[in-house]
Symmetry: C2
Subunit: 243 residues, 2 copies
């Protein structure tokens, strides 16, 4: 396990503020070209050094009180994957009947996981006991450690995209079944169940957008000023004048 890349960030180079254009391009490309992969996994194995890099990227996520509450459970065992997949099937069936009839038909046609096709699955967890009961920053918001593990997921996802690996987050699973199958202690929460592997392609758009399930919202519709009651919609010019 090399720490070479990490070491190169320290020292004088750590003082760098705005990144050069090529590095910035990489960050934005990863953000915009990242996809939730379900149908495009290839069986090709993942190189150990690449796997180590994406896990190290995840481990360098922000964490509340620097508690680093995550663990990364790598799942390669076919029998375990099969158990997870069976829980997915049960959870999908329970969910399907909740949709309106016309949405239910579309829902049933969507492929929503690649558990068995992806060479590796990774369960990201949150160990709520880590480093003891009182954590800086978790005192008023007990949910903060769960959020730290989510930040680790997003780091892993973006690093994987840069490495050319697809990631799919499967959330149509029962947490109690994940706990049982992976033998998680009571104080360890399963946060994300990820399928990871090389892909035949990265779709141009999110599949639920392409499928017409929901549209991308305009950015201006989700920005507000100084409180909930002042949406800015597309008034960027006014915002600019005020900044």
């Amino acid at each position: 396990m090399t720490t070479q890349r990490e070491d190169r960030i320290g020292g004088a180079e750590g003082k760098l503020h705005e990144f050069p254009d090529e590095w910035k391009e990489g960050v934005y490309r990863a953000i915009y070209a990242r996809r939730d992969i379900r149908s495009q996994f290839k069986p090709d194995p993942i190189a150990e050094d690449v796997l180590a890099r994406i896990l190290r990227a995840a481990h360098h996520a922000p964490s509340v009180g620097f508690m680093q509450p995550w663990d990364f459970i790598l799942i390669r065992d076919v029998a375990i994957k099969q158990k997870i997949r069976e829980d997915f099937e049960r959870a999908t069936e329970e969910a399907a009947v909740k949709f309106a009839p016309e949405k239910e038909a579309v829902y049933r046609k969507l492929k929503l996981e690649g558990i068995r096709e992806a060479p590796i699955n990774i369960c990201v967890t949150c160990d709520r006991r880590r480093f003891g009961p009182v954590v800086i920053g978790r005192t008023s918001q007990p949910v903060m450690d769960l959020f730290s593990s989510v930040c680790a997921v997003q780091n892993l996802w973006l690093a994987a995209r840069a490495e050319g690996l697809g990631v799919g987050w499967v959330s149509i699973l029962h947490p109690r079944e994940l706990r049982r199958i992976l033998a998680l202690p009571a104080e360890v929460e399963p946060i994300a169940y990820l399928c990871v592997g090389h892909v035949t392609e990265f779709p141009d758009r999110p599949e639920l957008e392409s499928a017409g399930w929901l549209p991308r919202m305009p950015l201006g519709d989700v920005i507000r000023l100084d409180g909930w009651d002042t949406p800015i919609q597309n008034k960027w010019e006014e915002l600019e004048a005020e900044l």
Copy 2:
């Protein structure tokens, strides 16, 4: 508000799998050089196009069922910042007495927010009503929409680092006070309160690590194989043989 960069990712270029070295470098640099900023904010204003880019990056986070549950409330009003800061003081006082005496003394010396110094604060929320009650992927895990908003925070944080902007996540706040001060509807959860601005420097290491509060864990200590009970510690060679 330009969509130029976003458009450049589509089409044939979207088929790119592994990134070229410079882009990869950018992704890993952002991940490793990102810091939680509390003490280093400068009052310099943030350019409108830069602010738009980091918000757009956040808006392109993964979201459960493509529900895009986030809103971004930009806070520039000094009076509102002051109210938030007063809640921080109350929450810090409540927290301080929970630590063991020797930790309490260290805790009280740490600077844990830059609410008033940062030119902009951003509250990232989660609107649990968005696009209706039944959301693909939230049926078995109701918490998934909160996690989507956390992914948006991490995208924003990494894009900000690439742009040379510091971000600090202030979690020593009472959610009920955030709701009141920002007039959030009952179904909208405050997820993250972020301070954003230019900085005098990005510290080489997380401040809680430098201060000796907690150490960075070895990566091998947070990786397990096929279940909780098989930590791999540093057995990467064995893992490689098995992959």
